[in-house]
């Protein structure tokens, strides 16, 4: 039963299982154990980034192609909700229109880019997606009548999930039962569902073909699989999931701007999450996303502490400045590519395998 839910792809390491259970329990219990806007925000962001990073892993880890336009699809999803809400009012119909339009747009874009550039060489794909994403971001900030330009859009969501809605006046276990709580659980539950769906995809025969292409594209082509078709399908699927993540994020934040979903910084965040968590293991996205979002919130505090002590040393001191936290994560990123190519999850699984050498 449990194995079926996880598509026969269990964590395969006791430590990893414990970590995953802690993350899941933490996400579900956040409103009750850490009440407060900040921790709810971190929780929702972790959930959304799990979907975003896992969908990126579908391309990077399972198919072996690098795209830099992933945040473009994330942004399309978020703008879909934002624009639909500002133009048509905060109704469920508007949300549905936004969702369908966003999914269509990112499918068409992803399919177009893939068919155009994956035919020639996989490296073209990385370069062309970088260019298209940059152009798309400029366009989004230029079309300020629709997108609100650099300032972004503040919009309303349907009443059921807006903070003004209240289920009951009484508090339950210290948390007020309002629309914010419903929105939080909507984000967490849908993210969990999407994650399980992706797990299903990578463990299907289709997923096996993707991995075959990643490991030896010449051979998979020789076996009769059209690499272009499979790679394009993988990139379209990833785009669809990223769009859904963007939709969830917009529903949660009730705000969207270029810096929140489209910018290249988010793309780098996703890369860091996937690589540090573990490429080619969807669980890596979960671990990486939790680690990254917590680090983003609290590494800065730690650096502030260190900076206070050594800020007299010229260059080293400057590197411990709280704003330089990305330096340390970047270093971790480069080192993990060299020394742990399958990230934290790969390391844990290798450890579990080494401890019981007799198992199958």
């Amino acid at each position: 039963m449990l194995a079926n839910i996880f598509s026969q792809d269990l964590p395969r390491s006791k430590v990893l299982t414990v970590i995953l259970v802690v993350i899941l329990a933490g996400l579900l219990a956040t409103p009750f154990i850490f009440p407060g806007a900040r921790s709810l925000n971190v929780g929702a962001k972790i959930a959304v980034f799990i979907v975003l990073a896992a969908s990126y892993d579908l391309m990077l880890g399972y198919t072996g192609i690098v795209s830099f336009a992933h945040t473009m699809c994330f942004g399309i999803g978020a703008y879909g909700i934002g624009i639909a809400s500002t133009q048509m009012g905060p109704t469920w119909t508007a949300m549905a229109v936004g969702v369908v339009a966003a999914l269509l747009l990112s499918t068409v874009l992803a399919l177009g880019i893939s068919l155009f550039s994956l035919r020639v060489r996989a490296i073209f794909f990385a370069m062309i997606t970088l260019a298209v994403a940059a152009a798309f971001m400029t366009m989004a900030s230029q079309l300020s009548d629709w997108t609100g330009g650099e300032d972004g859009l503040n919009f309303k969501v349907p009443e059921l999930i807006s903070p003004a809605f209240s289920l009951s006046d009484e508090k339950f276990l210290g948390a007020s039962l309002d629309g914010k709580l419903i929105a939080y659980y909507l984000v967490v539950v849908v993210s969990g569902g999407l994650f399980l769906l992706m797990l299903r995809i990578v463990n299907s025969p289709f997923g096996r073909v993707l991995m075959a292409i990643r490991d030896n594209d010449f051979r998979s082509e020789a076996l009769g699989y059209r690499n272009v078709i499979y790679r394009s399908l993988s990139s379209v699927l990833a785009a669809v999931f990223a769009t859904l993540a963007g939709i969830l994020y917009a529903l949660w934040l009730r705000y969207n701007g270029p810096g929140t979903t489209l910018s290249f910084d988010i793309m780098i965040d996703v890369l860091l999450i996937v690589v540090i968590g573990g490429m080619g293991t969807l669980y890596g996205a979960v671990v990486g996303s939790a680690l990254f979002n917590i680090a983003q919130g609290y590494l800065q505090d730690l650096l502030k502490l260190a900076h206070g002590n050594i800020d007299t040393i010229p260059v080293i001191g400057a590197l411990f400045h709280p704003d330089r936290w990305l330096f340390w994560l970047g270093l971790l990123f480069v080192l993990s590519i060299y020394f742990f190519p399958f990230g934290i999850v790969g390391k844990l699984r290798a450890g579990a395998l080494a401890r019981k050498p007799t198992a199958t």
Partner: protein, 341 residues
């Protein structure tokens, strides 16, 4: 018994010359002429053309190294933009240190200041390039996926180091006194600095063409781009060539960074990432590994972005992408396809 027919020794004249491919070169004048009715007024068009050429040549400076590096060792350096940013910041520091030279009205002193800045930028970027090659790129030869990720990671780290050294604020980059303002011939305003950029770019392109086409070193580089294994079989170490090309490419990117900083009169760390997009478009248009294609591509992108920036500013970045799509529909491997890879 077989009869052997003596083979007449081929004279030099008998060897068929490789056919020259002029078609892509024609694209530049075609684009320039097409733009005239779109822009409308002749003086504006002339100003935009000069600006486009200046921008194109600066892009060429930065992109040429990257395309050669790719051609030689099949390494795509996604962190190339960092050398641009580094060059720009070193340039700013040098120019502000030489405040006396830039403030004086003597053209020679001004030129010397820019020369010093460009040289310092090239030396620093070249040195960092060698380190970058050694630390970041060398462990991942032949692994495309890891190359993209690692060079990207190297860029993140290096960008943070630049931020730590120079601070996060945008730096204004003043052009020296005698290079401010513009000449005016018959209603056509030509910014003096752009003229200098065009001269410098053309000089470097000429020097590079001579080096690549008329010297043994250039012959080896070109041969290495076409077929590395064969050159190695002949006893040359392509690895050493490659380190040299990587360093030279980084140095040119640093010089390009200083020039681009002066062109925009403003330097931020985003300058690297901003240029990276244009550079990729340029080398895809030109054909990966081709210096000539890179030159044509850079001029086309520089011109197109200036014209479109004037006619329809909102779709500016898309103009370069549209250009790339059109050219790839015509020649899927770029203007001058080099290697069969």
């Amino acid at each position: 018994m077989s009869t052997t027919t003596p083979i007449a020794p081929a004279t030099v004249e008998d060897l068929p010359a490789a056919p020259r491919d002029w078609m892509p070169l024609l694209l530049i004048p075609i684009l320039i002429l097409l733009a005239l009715p779109l822009v409308g007024s002749f003086p504006t068009w002339a100003t935009l053309t000069i600006a486009g050429l200046a921008m194109g040549l600066i892009i060429f400076l930065v992109a040429s190294g990257l395309t050669l590096v790719f051609g030689l060792m099949d390494v795509m350096n996604f962190g190339h933009g960092i050398f641009v940013a580094l060059g720009a910041f070193v340039g700013v520091t040098t120019i502000s240190a030489l405040g006396g030279w830039t403030a004086s009205s003597s053209f020679a002193l001004n030129l010397a200041a820019i020369g010093c800045a460009g040289l310092a930028a090239a030396v620093v970027a070249g040195t960092v390039g060698v380190l970058f090659e050694r630390i970041v790129v060398r462990p991942v030869y032949g692994l495309h996926l890891k190359q993209i990720l690692v060079t990207m990671g190297g860029m993140i780290v290096a960008e943070q180091v630049i931020l730590a050294l120079w601070g996060p604020e945008a730096r204004p980059m003043m052009r020296p006194a005698s290079l401010q303002g513009s000449f005016i011939f018959a209603d056509i305003a030509v910014e003096k600095f752009r003229l200098l950029a065009v001269c410098l770019g053309l000089t470097i392109f000429a020097a590079m063409s001579l080096l690549l086409n008329r010297t043994k070193l250039g012959l080896l580089i070109r041969a290495g781009v076409q077929d590395r294994e064969m050159v190695e079989a002949m006893g040359y170490r392509v690895r050493f060539l490659f380190i040299g090309v990587f360093a030279a490419g980084s140095a040119l990117a640093g010089l390009g960074g200083t020039m681009f900083g002066l062109y925009q009169e403003m330097v931020t760390t985003a300058i690297g990432a901003q240029m990276m997009v244009l550079i990729f478009i340029v080398i895809i248009i030109g054909g990966l590994g081709s210096v000539g294609g890179c030159f044509v591509g850079a001029l086309l992108v520089g011109l197109a972005s200036n014209y479109i920036g004037f006619v329809a500013p909102k779709v500016n970045l898309f103009s370069s992408i549209l250009l790339m799509v059109l050219i790839l529909l015509w020649r899927p491997q770029g203007l001058f396809p080099v290697a069969k890879r």
